[in-house]
Amino acid sequence: MKNNRPILLVEDDKIDAMTVKRAMKDLKITNSLIHVYNGIEALDYLKNQSNEKPCIVLLDLNMPKMNGIELLKNLKNDASLKKLPVVVLTTSNAEKDKTESFNLSVAGYMLKPVDYKQFVDVIKDINFYWTISEIPD
């Protein structure tokens, strides 16, 4: 990534979170990964001033308590959090989820590949893109 701030992963599935972590390690991405399990925990993390602000958010959609779309609505209504780039990483291929996500200005909507090599490719392209792109401070 452009800077060395952490990546915030919002994901209720432990296996998927481990896969992201493993892919980052295989790709030698040095940013740390903060893993939270739902939208409520993500908001708690982001609103706590003592936590380091992430460079980007990787967001799953189907989660208990507060799902990805609800979290997006919260983020985009918050003057200090709306600038944070959010990339959706989900298994949902539903048109409704895509429409809602893009209307909430997500910076990408990636389907989780089942195959690990393809999963690594997705993380690689996300990393490369957000290394060349600027990231809000």
Partner: protein, 140 residues
């Protein structure tokens, strides 16, 4: 659906041509539309009802500039879902924050290795899903 068209809003003909060349090296199945002003782009999007997969926007444009265009797009219910990526020579941090507050999906400062830039944009957005275009729905 997947990446099928890019709208490039760029008044510099050489930059536009470089982008076109770079993209054609990587892919021949993504349509590239190049418009020189934000006004023409708004007309293309609104009056002609076109929905590109993504918009690549130069910030310094004649007449209406890139940030004004962004503000209009993001306040338009029909257009706000199109991801907009900024290309600029500005290293001014306040421009960057303004653009991210206006919900850009990437902010690239020139000069960069142009081919690397296009490759990165292409590879990333090729992996992304998109909302099914309205014109496609109407064709049925």
């Amino acid at each position: 659906m997947s990446l099928d068209s890019i709208l490039l809003i760029e008044d510099d003909k050489i930059n536009a041509l470089t982008f076109k060349k770079g993209l054609s090296r990587i892919s021949t199945d993504v349509e590239l539309i190049i418009l020189e002003t934000a006004e023409n782009a708004l007309h293309y999007l609104r009056n002609e009802g076109n929905t590109p997969s993504i918009i690549v926007l130069d910030l310094s444009l004649p007449k209406m500039n890139g940030t004004d265009f962004l503000a209009i797009i993001k306040n338009d219910a029909d257009l706000k879902g199109i991801p907009v990526i900024v290309l600029t020579t500005s290293t001014n941090p306040s421009n960057k924050i303004e653009c991210f507050n206006l919900q850009v999906a990437g902010y690239f400062v020139k000069p960069l290795d142009y081919f690397e830039l296009i490759e990165s944009i292409f590879n990333y957005w090729k992996k992304s899903e998109f909302v099914q275009a309205v014109k496609e729905k109407e064709n049925h």
